[in-house]
């Protein structure tokens, strides 16, 4: 309780400290009683439960109801927004808040499906760790159109009882696969994790990785990406099912790791291994690690569509999700274990503070499509 009071007095103080505190108060008043329809991926019971908790807290503190609309893919929300745009529905839309990043953000930004910049008006913005790349999303400037929510890092999971020295680089993975055929693979692109694996490998193998941070040029694409394809040609020969089949997504690699079909699983959450153990998905002897060069890292964000009906409610909800309380809870590995975007000193004494691996930033988003297309051409049929 003391902590809560301290937290709220801090919150109040900082609110008053801001120039536009009156604006924020108005927003909170307007938000009272609003229902925020939050479109977010619904495939994880941990995340769903966390959002149920957030709803309870928001209802109690701010009178805002946070309704999680579970989707299998956030593009379902974007399709609806495109439909609303087609019908010129520029207010009172049905989606108030979305959980996005990467290409989905770029699409929404390019087609003006997002509200005006808002993040700097959020009282809790001050706690955000600005040393993280919170102002760019896969190298696309966010321009205040989306607020960071958590950090993703590409990590690999293995079983300590089975593997002594897991490969520390993509080159070592090839060596490992040669001595242990049929035991390594990666999710099939264009799945999110699969394409990330390609990007991570190309960053390591390329002679000139800087080129990956500017837009793809058709003329140089083949030359720059060549090392990746010759690597994959070799890798597939000794990969799981000879590279003729691939796991569909990260979850399947976890399942295959547990079944003993694969030696390495892939994940974007360094703490997923803990929650998976607790849930009984993985053995207790499993552990996550990043490659020696670092982990491909990105941030996932919250944003508000241009026509949201409960815009104020959404702002209040996003502000709450950025609060030290909500972020500490989220980072708790028994809850979700998603690394925080706040300065770590701001977290309340969470049972396990999440440490991040050395990070490698995401290439320019245009590489995503280019790599996926070329992969499809070479291996997809």
């Amino acid at each position: 309780m003391k902590k809560l009071i301290a937290l709220f007095s801090l919150l109040l103080l900082t609110t008053f400290a801001q120039a536009d505190n009156i604006n924020w108060q108005k927003i909170e008043e307007k938000a009272q009683g609003q229902t925020v329809y939050f479109y977010a991926w619904g495939g994880s019971q941990d995340i769903n439960n966390y959002l149920r908790w957030a709803n309870k807290r928001l209802q109690a503190e701010q009178g805002v109801t946070l309704k999680h609309v579970k989707v299998t893919d956030i593009s379902e929300a974007i399709t609806r927004l495109v439909a609303e745009k087609s019908a010129d529905k520029n207010s009172n839309g049905s989606i108030d808040m979305v959980w996005i990043n990467g290409e989905n953000f770029k699409s929404m930004k390019d087609f003006n499906l997002l509200t005006t910049p808002f993040v700097e008006n959020l009282p809790n913005w001050q706690y955000v760790d600005k040393s993280l790349p919170v102002d760019s999303d896969f190298a696309e400037p966010t321009m205040g159109l989306e607020a960071p929510w958590g950090v993703g890092q590409l990590v690999f999971i293995y079983d300590k009882n089975k593997v002594n020295n897991p490969p520390q680089s993509h080159r070592e993975m090839l060596v490992y696969a040669r001595s242990h055929p049929n035991k390594l693979s990666y999710p099939r692109p264009p799945s999110f994790h699969g394409t990330s694996f390609l990007k991570s490998a190309l960053i390591e193998l390329s002679e000139n990785p800087d080129a990956l941070y500017s837009p793809v040029d058709d003329k140089t694409f083949q030359r720059i990406s060549a090392p990746l394809w010759s690597y994959l040609d070799d890798f597939h020969r000794v990969a799981w099912r000879q590279g003729k089949q691939f796991p569909e997504n990260s979850a399947e690699t976890l399942q295959l790791l547990d079944d003993g079909e694969l030696d390495l699983a892939i994940s974007f959450n360094p703490n997923e291994v803990f929650s998976a153990q607790e849930n009984g998905l993985l053995r207790d002897s499993t552990t996550a690690y990043a490659l020696a060069a670092g982990a491909l890292s990105n941030i996932h964000f919250l944003s508000i569509p241009w026509n949201a009906a409960a815009k104020e409610g959404a702002l209040v909800a996003i502000n709450f999700l950025l609060s030290p309380e909500a972020q500490s809870k989220k980072a708790d590995i028994s809850v979700w274990g998603d690394p925080t975007v706040l300065q770590s000193s701001k977290l309340s004494s969470s049972p396990q503070k999440t440490t991040l691996f050395k990070s490698i930033s995401e290439p320019h988003p245009s590489w995503q499509t280019a790599l996926e297309t070329e992969w499809q051409k070479r291996y997809g049929h």
């Binding site: 619904g42 019971q45 299998t72 379902e76 399709t79 439909a83 529905k89 547990d258 849930n279 049929h381």
Partner: protein, 580 residues
């Protein structure tokens, strides 16, 4: 006076039915055409062009994908029809047929995806069969080949075939009851034909035209299925509908024209295949029918083993799913979970009731309305055909909601609701459910309605009954088994709708299916198992009622309780063994 009121209200219903069931096609198809021809102003595509089609044609792997899709669709349709017929031939009216019928309820109630998950767990290299082998033969290790996601789609063919056989059996029940199989058998056998010959040469040519529309549905489903193909289908390349689904979900909105062009191509392919099935039927039944009359050859069809395999593979996923839903940990190669837990049930329990209520509410309304409309349109068609006026609703139009990828026609429908008044979420969702349920209900009624003995009506009319009374007193009781079955199918189709509910409800309405599908995207077998079971429970209840009702109703001669006695009277002693 009375008659004219009846006539007017019938016409009112007819117009309402046509409006409700077919108007969504207009925005749906328009939306599909516009986006296939790259006209989507919301994403700055403001001129018609063929870009989408060019991109589609240049997509590497398109040919392989379409070929494998055709292969899967045709072979699973053909196999399921063949096997369903051989099961009927071997088992119809056997003493155990009752059990065969009753077991259909749980099999049909299990949603396709849930079946696919169970099927996959049975056959993956670390699956249940592999675990049994591993226990028996000590440490075989894990095979580096799998029937699941195999490149030739064999796993998908097997899965779809096995899932469709029970559906075909279920749809054949009212048909065979009308066909008077028993008297046919008696007369054919008195002419010296064996039972197999009678079934193949006499009953098949009658069964096939009546089951035609159902076969269309089976074929269309296998051609356009996404969820099952994602779980057990080939991946290099994936089947065509899966590709379209992925393109439609692509974050890069510029792929929308390609996706829609693909959806249009799929729709056309579907229509071609429908005509192909119709052509094959015509070829075997009408054109080249010498096999029906010449010689006494009959194919040896192993109906009983087909029945056994189908039922085993269809029913085993159920206990497996129950085990999974209580499993905390179940690693390879254990035959049973090593740790148990109730938490997955407990966590969801409190949220379930509202969701189940919603699902049943929507399903009951949409199935009932769709049933009423289907009856009205069938009655209308039959009268028009009789008067040779032919103001009949073309079957193709009726079946479009069944054939076209839902996502592609829902976009246009969604835009239309936004233009009108999108906040009436329940109205739109129920309407969309009626729209997608209607073709299935219509198809269940199709065979029985067309083969209904019109002379019964004529006799009653000539005795001075009003048409409505004739319908209610004569036709309805005779067709009651069909009506029950159609209603149950309607309810289960409505319960399974994911996209229409999600897209038109704007997230305001959650059903068991929206929850189940969203959760299953996390690929946690345990959560998927819970929702799969819950998804089956509700339709199971309604299928059970329908099967029970259909056994107790219909023409007296065909009611199962009376059946055996009445046949027993007709059959000479020596032949009795054939029926029991």
């Amino acid at each position: 006076m009375n008659a004219s009121i009846q006539k007017i209200s019938f016409q009112f219903l007819l117009i309402l039915a046509i409006l409700v069931c077919f108007t969504p096609l207009l925005p749906g198809l328009l939306g599909l055409f516009f986006s296939a021809f790259s006209y989507i102003p919301a994403i700055n595509l403001q001129t018609f062009s063929l870009t989408g089609f060019f991109e589609l044609l240049h997509w590497p792997g398109l040919r392989e994908s379409i070929l494998i899709t055709l292969f899967v669709s045709l072979s699973s349709t053909f196999l399921s029809a063949l096997l369903a017929f051989s099961i009927l031939q071997s088992c119809w009216n056997k003493a155990y047929w009752h059990k065969v019928e009753s077991l259909l309820a749980p099999i049909l109630a299990l949603p396709h995806v849930a079946f696919a998950i169970g099927f996959a767990f049975l056959f993956t290299p670390s699956g249940f069969i592999a675990r049994i082998l591993n226990t028996l033969f000590n440490d075989l290790g894990i095979a580096n080949w799998s029937l699941i996601n195999d490149p030739y789609g064999l796993g998908l063919i097997l899965g779809l075939t096995i899932k469709e056989i029970p559906f075909l059996l279920f749809m054949s029940i009212p048909l065979l009851k009308q066909l008077n199989v028993n008297s046919t058998l008696v007369s054919a056998q008195s002419l010296g034909y064996s039972k197999a010959q009678t079934w193949q040469k006499i009953i098949l040519p009658q069964w096939l035209p009546k089951i035609r529309f159902t076969l269309f549905a089976v074929m269309a489903y296998s051609l356009s299925v996404v969820d099952v193909a994602l779980v057990i289908g080939p991946t290099s390349p994936a089947t065509f509908p899966v590709l379209i689904w992925q393109w439609l979900n692509d974050p890069d909105l510029a792929t929308l024209p390609k996706a829609s062009a693909g959806a249009l191509l799929l729709l056309l392919t579907c229509i071609v295949l429908l005509y192909l099935i119709r052509f094959i039927e015509w070829l075997t039944i009408v054109k080249c029918r010498s096999w029906q009359t010449s010689g006494r050859r009959a194919l040896p069809l192993a109906g009983k083993s087909a029945l056994l395999v189908t039922y085993l593979i269809s029913l085993i996923p159920l206990p497996l799913l129950i085990l999974w839903s209580f499993a905390q940990r179940w690693p390879f190669p254990e035959l049973f979970p090593t740790h148990w837990s109730l938490r997955f049930w407990q966590q969801e329990w409190t949220f379930l009731w509202g969701i189940i209520g919603n699902s049943i509410f929507i399903a009951l309304i949409s199935a009932t309305v769709a049933l009423l409309f289907a009856i009205v349109i069938h009655e209308h068609s039959i009268r028009e055909m009789a008067d040779r006026r032919r103001f009949v609703v073309p079957r193709l139009i009726i079946s479009i909601p069944m054939l076209a990828p839902q996502l592609s026609i829902l976009f246009g429908i969604q835009v239309a609701t936004l233009f009108v008044a999108h906040q009436y979420y329940y109205l739109w969702v129920i309407w969309a459910h009626i729209f997608f349920v209607f073709p299935y209900v219509y198809l269940v009624l199709d065979g029985p309605w067309r083969s209904y003995e019109k002379r019964l009506d004529m006799v009653a009319l000539s005795l001075g009954m009003s048409p409505l009374k004739v319908w209610w007193k004569i036709k309805r009781p005779v067709l009651l088994p069909t009506l029950c079955i159609a209603w149950a199918v309607g309810i289960s189709v409505s319960l399974a709708q994911y996209l229409p509910t999600l897209m038109l409800a704007g997230g305001r309405i959650s059903t068991l299916t929206t929850e189940a599908v969203a959760l299953s995207s996390g690929q946690d077998r345990r959560i998927s198992a819970i929702y799969a079971l819950l998804q089956s429970l509700v339709p199971f209840f309604f299928y059970f009622i329908a099967i029970f009702a259909s056994q107790k109703t219909g023409m007296i001669i065909n009611q199962s309780t009376v059946n055996k006695r009445s046949i027993a009277h007709h059959v000479p002693d020596s032949k009795k063994s054939d029926y029991y």
